[in-house]
Each structure stands twice: as C-alpha cells, then as structure tokens.
C-alpha cells in the first residue's frame, strides 16, 4: 500500500514538473470560460458578420446553449488533450528504461499500472472539476436561475466517466505498444471502432461512446438519462478489463 501511494505521488510529481499539470489545467480552465462565452456571444458575432440586408432570426442564447458548448468542447478537444498527455506515461518509462531500477527494488509490476491509472484519473478528474466549476460560475453569471439545466448532472457525470474509460484504454495501449505515437493511435482506433459500432442499432444501446455523444441530446431532452445506464455498465466493465489486461500484459513484458 505504501509503495502504491509512493509511486502514485511520483506520477503526480511528474505531472507537475514536466508541465503536464500546467497545460491540462490551463486548457481546461480555458474551456470552462470559453464554453459559456461562446454560447453567449456567438449569435451577436454571427449577425455582425452577416452581409448587410440579410435577415436571419437567432434565438436568444440560454444556459442550455452554454452547457451544450461545454459538452462539445470537452468531448472533442478536451479528451484529445488528455489522451495526448497520457500517451507518454508508459512510453516514457519504456524508452528511458527508468523502470528497471524501480522494479528491481521489489515494486510489483501491478502497482506500476495501478498507480499510473490512479494518477491519470486524478488529473482528469481535477481538470474536469476545474472546467465544470468555471463553466458553472460563468453560466450562473449570465443566466442565473436557469443554470441547472435538466439532465446536467447526468450528462456531466457520463462525460467524466467516458474520460476515465479513455484513460484506461490509453494505459493499456501504452503497455502494449511502447511508443507515445503508437499509444495515441491505439486509443484513436478504439474510439473509431466505437463510432463504427454505433452504426449497428443493437450495439448502440450498449456503446460506451454514448456517454460522450449522448450528453447533448440528454440536455436537449431528446434522450432519457436511463438510457445511459447500459453504456455506463459496459464502459465500467471495459475500464476494469483494460486495467487488468494492462497488468497482465505488463507482467510478461521485457524491459
């Protein structure tokens, strides 16, 4: 247990000193601010760019627009940034050979994986909370009472959960392929595979990608929160599966 906390602390130190914490913190803070602002000022910007005389009617922005921007930004660029940063976690250790020393000290290989997963989830959760908190504050500032859009809690939680799942996939990829580009590719392919599977109606109900894609329809009231339960169970099982598989594969890896 002490080895686990020590190694997790090492991972967190690594995030701080290799600027990963800074980047992710600032990028997510930025999204937290930009999502409500984009919702608020987009209509005005659009009309100002319209050619003279052209008439379009744009509804007044609401808190719902703000949260839809949030879902869109995080599920696209936000998760991409997280995966990019996490793709180096295993690759760095492999390429520099830094684990040899640590493992010969008797640290179980399993602990390495569990610590890395814990640290990555902590970083993702922290970044997500910062982003959500900022977006919440700005949304409240502009729209006051309507800030708590129906389905907001469910949508926000589902997106966070999808992030955790993606982190687990990235860790498994890192153990398997040894390079950061390879890891990126691995996670990318996993996401593409989910998009493809979504085309099969029977699979769609269970597809983890619904957690990210379903946020917007959920906020718009086009989707029941209950329909995210199945994807969430599948994503949870896959997360556990990825971590267990990563441990098992790592046990057999030559360093």
């Amino acid at each position: 247990m002490r080895a686990y906390t020590a190694y997790t602390a090492k991972e967190l130190t690594e995030f701080t000193r290799t600027y990963k914490l800074l980047i992710i913190g600032l990028v997510f803070l930025l999204f937290g601010i930009m999502s409500p602002l984009a919702a608020k000022f987009m209509p005005e910007l659009l009309t100002s760019f319209m050619p003279e005389g052209m008439q379009i009617t744009i509804a007044d922005p609401t808190a719902l627009d703000s949260w839809m921007q949030f879902e869109k930004n995080i599920s696209q660029i936000g998760l991409f940034v997280i995966v990019i940063v996490m793709s180096g976690m295993m690759a760095g250790e492999y390429s520099r050979g830094t684990l040899v020393n640590i493992l010969t000290k008797g640290l179980p290989r399993r602990t390495v994986i569990l610590s890395k997963f814990t640290a990555a989830v902590l970083l993702w959760t922290g970044a997500y909370l910062v982003c959500f908190g900022t977006a919440y504050a700005y949304t409240w500032f502009y729209w006051r009472k309507t800030v708590n859009t129906p389905g907001l809690t469910e949508a926000a939680f589902a997106l966070w959960f999808f992030g955790v799942f993606l982190v687990a996939v990235t860790i498994l990829g890192g153990v398997l392929v040894r390079t950061s580009y390879g890891t990126l590719l691995f996670t990318g392919l996993a996401v593409v595979a989910q998009f493809l599977l979504n085309m099969i109606p029977k699979v769609e109900k269970y597809n983890p990608i619904q957690l990210a894609a379903g946020g917007t329809p959920l906020l718009q009231g086009q989707l029941e929160a209950g329909s995210l339960v199945k994807p969430m169970i599948v994503a949870g099982a896959c997360t556990v599966g990825c971590v267990v598989a990563a441990c098992a594969v790592f046990h057999k890896k030559k360093l």
Binding site: A6, K105, L107
Partner: protein, 305 residues
Amino acid sequence: MNILEIEGLKKKFGSHQVLDGLTIHVPEHSVFGFLGKNGAGKTTTMKIVLGLLKADAGEIRVCGERAVYGQTKTNRFIGYLPDVPEFYSYMSAVEYLRLCGRITGMSEKEIRRMSGELLELVGLKGVKKRIGGYSRGMKQRLGIAQALFHEPKLLICDEPTSALDPVGRREVLEIMEQVREKTTVIFSTHVLSDVERICDRVAVLNDGKSVMEGTLEEMKEKHKKDSLLLEFPRKELLKQFVEEPIFQNLLSRAKLEGCQVIIHAKDIEQAEAELIRGLNETRLMPSRLEILEPSLEGLFMEAIQ
C-alpha cells in the same frame, strides 16, 4: 554460506546460445569479479538473477531462496546497478532515494538516515540540482547509492566503470572498496585492472560457461610461475650475456626486449639456481632479477582461448 548460487543456467536468443550451463557460486563477503568478453553473457546472467529475463533452464538461489522470473521476492536481498542507470530526470537525488525507500517499505526516519549516509559516501551530499543535469559519473554514483539503499546482502553492478572517464572510474572503484565491509559485491567488467584492484574472487565467462573460477591467488597459484626476468643496465652487457655459452641451455626459450630478457623454464627454481651460478662465474651483474607473477591478462587470455 553462498549468497548466490547459479546452477546450469541456459539461455538462448534466437539461434545464439548465450548461456550454456553456467554454474557459479558466490560466497558471502567477497568482491566477485565477473569477467568475460563483450557479449559473453554477463548482463544476461545478471538480468536473469534479477528476474528481468526468463532462463531456458537452470536454477538460481539468492540467500538460499529460489529466484523466479517475473517475481521480485528475492530482489529484496539484492541491490542492482545497471551499466547506464536511468533515473527520473525531474527529481533530485534526495527525492529519488526517498521514492526508493518508500517502495521498499522503509520508515521515514530510516530513509532520512540512509539518504544522508549514502549521499555522503558517494559524494553527492548537498547537490540540489535535478538528476537531468548530472554527469555520467554522478549518475553512476547515485546508482550505487540507490542500489545500497535497502542495505542489500548482495550488490550487483553491471560494468560500473566502462562508461566513465578515468576520474569517474577511480571514484566508483573507491566507493566499491568501501562498501565491501557491508555487503557482497558482484561486478561484471572487461577491464582487468579494475578486477585486480578490488576483487578477491573471479569467474571468467566464455562460450556461456564459467571457464575459470576462484580467488585471484588460487588462480595465479594454479598457473605456476615459469618466467624469470633479467635486466641489464646496458645493451652490451645483455649481448655479452646472451653470447655466453654457459647460459645457452637456459636461453633455449627466451625472449629479448630492450635491455631485458625473459627466460621460460619448466622448473623455475632449478633454472634460477643455474642462472645465479652462471652469473657468478661470468661476473655479469644484472640490475634486476625477478620471478614473474602470472598476470591476470595472461590468465584471462588463456582461459578464453
């Protein structure tokens, strides 16, 4: 008691049989030199002992416990220094040692005590900068400190001096000499002078087997002394000596070099007596007369033939 026992170790990489029934016993409190050409399988052996590589056959016991691939239980007895140790470049030496200590389950108090002691030993005390800015030699010395951190019974060093300049090499050897009182040291190398300087036992690895093993004295003893060195102050004297008929018998297997001549003989004492008698008769006075010790280099070359 033997701290490390390797029995019939075999390992094949592709079609290349790196280790072919290697057997080695390392007794407690020795500095054990593990010699061999580059690529003889020294690093492979060490990695198998540490459970980083899987052996094809054979058995390894560390302090009487079997070492198994993928498990790291026996590693609690072992401190390991890789040839080029790699650390987290964003940490300082103190932070890295603290991480090592926590991983091995030491108390915070113990960690502080050992860090102070070991950083002093390896001359890194008070160095605040991060490991990324260290020289090769500094990294190697930190490597020794981390390997000794959990007070291992066995310290395994893989070519600890080969990547270093002469200053760094001397520092590392000096540290290893100081450490021998506390722990058993195995170190692999192809630098013979390092072995002569600090090792008391040696094994020579060739073709995947141990071709020679024992204490340095034993090995030299076994390969009996058979050479006499004779040096004259001037070349003319040497010429005179060589032409003297009385010595022709001795000179049948001799080698001339500058003002020196090296005489080989089966019975060295008889040859020496004959030589001194002859020198006395001819009044040829050498400036030096010496029975040559067999050199480690000679033994090594002989062993790997």
